[in-house]
Structures are given as structure tokens and as C-alpha cells.
């Protein structure tokens, strides 16, 4: 085992894991400083969940060294377990108990003691807006409430490191925003978070650093800004009614490559109101009519496309939010 810095946060070096003949993780080295959010971004089957399961002591790695909050996951698994919190992809709540009882169960298993345990349960119910439903059975909870309870259960012992495996999968947009807000607030308390996601905007919104995984390998990493800097800038797509207008526009706006089958012209632009207005004025003056347009700002899907040669979901770009929302 190579030595890793004993510091807090998360550090792994050359982690490998295979299931039968399928390589799930291939030499993955990660680092997350204390109090930061690291996002593992990748499509289904990229190895994200496997990495979380290894980091949270659920399954052993084949090789490599892993330290979580300064504890080695192999030699000090219980040390790791005492300071981490895990919210998996599948809701890990007890459906036959009430919300308060679920939290109390966690407080008891974390050995908080009777009074401190009660206090923590009440605190979390308030913090996660579950006080009204505290004594209702989970069968009456909505998806968003279950997810909030799930996360609250993870936080009972105030863990130093939290693993969130696709924390917003299947949530409606509003619950998703709430969850993002909660996650952001956690890091301000100095908690280190590793989250996995297929949602590009989620990684962009939350993460200090992003690691892009594909087929068990790291294909890109950096801050969201660094990653976006690696791809060409944004563009405006112009849709025309006939090939005539398309050709004239292509002549007018140099550096444009017309697509004569689709009647689409892609023009480099930055999506600001001024630049779009200039562009449209120019076309208007030349009496070229444009049917409609779409504005495309660079995002992480472009990063993924640039480093792997395919879209994250294998779907056309525009559909990905919708498609993501339907995953579960």
C-alpha cells in the first residue's frame, strides 16, 4: 500500500475493482479536501456506485489504497464507519416506522445517548421540514420527503464525510433544488462530500471539483470552470425555411458551416442578449429570414463529448434533462 496523506477528507490511490471479467474501476485516484464537494460524474455503468460502495466499506477494492477522514477503509473499517454518512441510490429508510422513529433508530445505533439522541432527532426533523410528518408512517411520505428523511438519517451523528449516491435521482425539479440547498449548507459546516450524479448541471452547481468517469476510468477532472474551458465556446443555431436563405446567411456570417440537409447554421456566439441582437440585426438587414434559433452555452455535456466522443446519456443533448428525470 502506498502511503497517502493522513489528512481529513477523501483520498484514494489506484483503486481497482473487477466483478468476474468486468472491470468496474481501473486505477482510480481521487482526492477531496476537507469541507469541499467532489462530484463523480458519468453515465450508468461508469463505476460511480462501485466507488461509493468501496469508500463506504460495503465492498473491498481489489487493490489500491483508500483513506476516508484519515482512516484506512481496510485496516480501520469501523473507524471509517463511525465518521461517515451514506445515502445510497435506493432509499435506505425503514418503511414500517415513522419518520421520527427512523431517526431515533439511527440515534440509538450511533450511541448518542437518550437525551442527546432525542435532541438531535428534533433538530433534524425541523431542519429537513419533516416536523409535521414526524409521527406519520413512511407509507404516507412523498418521494421528496423520503429522500430528505434518508439524508437526515445519514446526518444523525454529524459525519465528517458524506457519500451521496445520485441524491436527486427521480426527484421533481423543486425537490431537487431543495436538496441542492441542503447539500450546500452541509459544506459550510466543514463536511466533506462525495456525490455521484448523471446530471451535468448538478455537478456544475454543487461541486468544487469534478471527476468524469467512463467505463471505470477517469477521463477528465478539474473544477467546473476548468472543465468547461476545455471545450469550444457556445454557439447559436439558426434554423431556416429554405436552402436559399441558409446559403446567403452562411455567406454573410463567415466561419459558419451550413448543414444543408437540416437547414441549420451553427454560429459561434456567447449567448448574451447583445451578441444575439447583433446577429439578428445583421441577418435582418441582409433580408434573410430565419425561422427560429436556439442558443447553446457550453456545459459539461460538451466536456463529456470532447473527452469520450459520445454524449453522457447517449441521447441528443437537448433531451438529457428530461431523460435524466425519467431514469427512475
Amino acid at each position: 500500500m502506498t502511503n497517502l496523506p493522513a489528512a481529513t477528507g477523501i483520498a484514494t490511490r489506484n483503486v481497482r475493482k473487477s466483478f468476474a471479467d468486468h472491470v468496474a474501476l481501473d486505477n482510480v485516484s481521487l482526492a477531496a479536501d476537507e469541507g469541499t464537494i467532489l462530484a463523480l460524474l458519468g453515465p450508468n455503468g461508469a463505476g460511480k456506485t462501485t466507488m461509493v460502495r468501496i469508500l463506504s466499506t460495503l465492498i473491498p477494492a481489489d487493490s489500491g489504497s483508500i483513506r476516508v477522514a484519515g482512516h484506512d477503509v481496510v485496516t480501520d473499517a469501523d473507524g471509517v464507519r463511525a465518521v461517515i454518512g451514506v445515502t445510497g441510490q435506493f432509499s435506505a429508510v425503514d418503511n414500517l416506522l415513522t419518520g421520527a422513529e427512523n431517526l431515533q433508530l439511527m440515534a440509538d445505533l450511533r450511541h448518542l445517548g437518550r437525551r442527546a439522541g432525542r435532541r438531535r432527532v428534533t433538530e433534524l426533523l425541523d431542519q429537513f421540514d419533516l416536523a409535521d410528518a414526524a409521527h406519520k408512517l413512511l407509507s404516507t411520505y412523498s418521494g421528496g420527503m423520503r429522500r430528505r428523511l434518508d439524508l437526515a438519517m445519514t446526518l444523525v451523528n454529524q459525519p465528517a464525510v458524506i457519500f451521496l449516491d445520485e441524491p436527486t435521482a427521480g426527484l421533481d425539479p423543486r425537490s431537487r433544488r431543495t436538496m441542492w440547498q441542503i447539500i450546500r449548507e452541509l459544506t459550510s459546516a466543514g463536511v466533506t462530500i462525495l456525490l455521484t450524479t448523471q446530471y451535468l448541471d448538478e455537478a456544475d452547481q454543487l461541486a468544487d471539483r469534478i471527476v468524469v468517469l467512463d467505463h471505470g476510468r477517469i477521463v477528465a477532472e478539474g473544477t467546473p470552470a476548468e472543465l468547461k474551458g476545455r471545450v469550444p465556446g457556445g454557439h447559436v443555431r439558426l434554423y431556416f425555411a429554405d436552402v436559399h436563405d441558409l446559403r446567403s446567411a452562411a455567406g454573410l456570417l463567415s466561419a459558419a458551416a451550413p448543414d444543408e440537409d437540416q437547414l441549420v447554421l451553427q454560429v459561434p456566439a456567447y449567448g448574451t442578449v447583445d451578441s444575439v441582437r447583433d446577429l439578428l440585426n445583421k441577418l435582418h438587414e441582409a433580408r434573410i429570414s430565419v425561422e427560429r434559433l436556439s442558443i447553446h452555452t457550453p456545459d459539461l455535456d460538451d466536456v463529456f463529448l470532447a473527452v469520450t466522443g459520445s454524449h453522457v446519456s447517449g441521447q441528443p443533448h437537448q433531451d438529457r434533462t428530461l431523460q435524466g428525470a425519467q431514469q427512475r
Binding site: S56, I59, V86, A92, L109, R110
Partner: protein, 265 residues
Amino acid sequence: MTTLALTVSDSRTMLRRSLKHQLRYPSMTVMLVGLPIVLLLLFVYVFGGQLGASLGAHGGRGAYLDYVVPGVLLIAVASVVQGTSIMVAMDMTGGIIDRFRTMAIARASVLIGHVLGSLIQTLAAVAILIGVAFGLGFHASAGPLAWLAAIGILALFAVALIWLAVALGLAAKSVETASNTPMVLLLLLFLSSGFVATATMPTGLRQFAEYQPFTAVADSVRGLLTGATIGDHAIIAIAWSIGISVVAYLWAIRLYNRRRAAEPR
């Protein structure tokens, strides 16, 4: 905390959880106690006249009630462990088990909670059934010590079957499978001296019945409660119980730990 203190504390927490489940899943709890009661009534009032007549000079429905009570108590045991299997499988197929595994708790406490919870449920079911049996006119000649011994043998056997049910619940791929496998236990009970004397069975079946654990337990409990001859049945019942407990416990722990390694997800 020492390992032992941790195990005791976590098992107590898990036991509390298991008891709450029983309260929150009343349909199952009622079914587990209700089924033996219905069967008791069925055996006594439908089959009892005919079956009791064959019990000799003092035969009759009342005599058959005295005969069949241990068998019905064993139905209660077998039916409770079906619930155990279901609960364990529900835990293992749900996400909660992964949460427990990522926490610094005594690992065995998850299973111990189910075992103790089921044992309490068994004893409650047995108590209710004995009450119903007395209501129907059950005559017990047993003194307090004999009662204690009878309950002890039943409890020991229940522990054995509960661990077996835990293992079956762990081995099951789905909750449905887990709810079916313990049915075998009910079948075994019918192929024992629980409801009719083994002497009335054809040779091959009789030999099987005489050498299987349900007969030993039924005969010992019957002997202790009604003063029938026990012979070496008590020793055999205890030996069976300990033997099944050890094997099922080891199997369950092995399944519980192995589940961790596989699972490419």
C-alpha cells in the same frame, strides 16, 4: 464500548425495531396467531369427534383436544418463523441493510434483533393459544415445573426454527420466496405425532415420523402437560433443537457475510 456491550446495546435497539414492526404490520401478526387458533378449532370441532374416538376407552372430542394442543402450539411456532423469514428478506432486499453495514454497529445485531423479536412473538402466540385451549376445556395435569419445562422445550425449538428461518430469509432472492420456504416446516409438522399418533401411519411414513424433530418436541410437550409418557423424547427434542440452532446459525452468519462480497451493482 466493549464488543459485548456494543452487541447487547445494538441488539436491544434492533429488538425494539423488530417489535415495532410487529405492531405496525398487524395483518401479519394477526395471521400468525389467527391461523393456529382457526386450526385448533378445526381440529377439535371438525376432526375431533372422529379422531378422538380412536384414542381408546376414554376417547372423544375432549381427549383429542388434550392430544392436539402441543401440535397446535407447534403450528404457532412454524407460522411465526414464516414471518421471521419475510422480515429478514425484506431487510436484505431493501436499502436499509446497506445503511446498517456502513455504520459502526455490532454486525450480528441485525439478525439477533429479528431472532429475539420472533421469540417474543412465539411466546405471546403460545400464551394466547394456551388460553384459548383452556377456554375449550383443555385439561393439563402439569405442575408449575412441568409447565416451565414444556415452555422451555418449545422455546428452545422455536429458537432453532427461527435461526433456520433467518437463514432461509437470507438465502431467498425475493420476499415472495422467503414467505414460501418455511411452508416445508408446516408440512413436516403434519408428518409427525402432532395431530395423530404415529402408530396409525403406514410403515415408511411412520419410521420417518418417529425420527423427526417435530415428533420429539410434540411428544415431550404432551407428556409434560398431560402426563403421557415422555421416554427419551425430551432429550431427543433438546438435541434436535441445539443441533438445528447451531447449523442454522452458522449458515445464517455465512450467508450474511457472504452477501457483502458479491453483488456487482
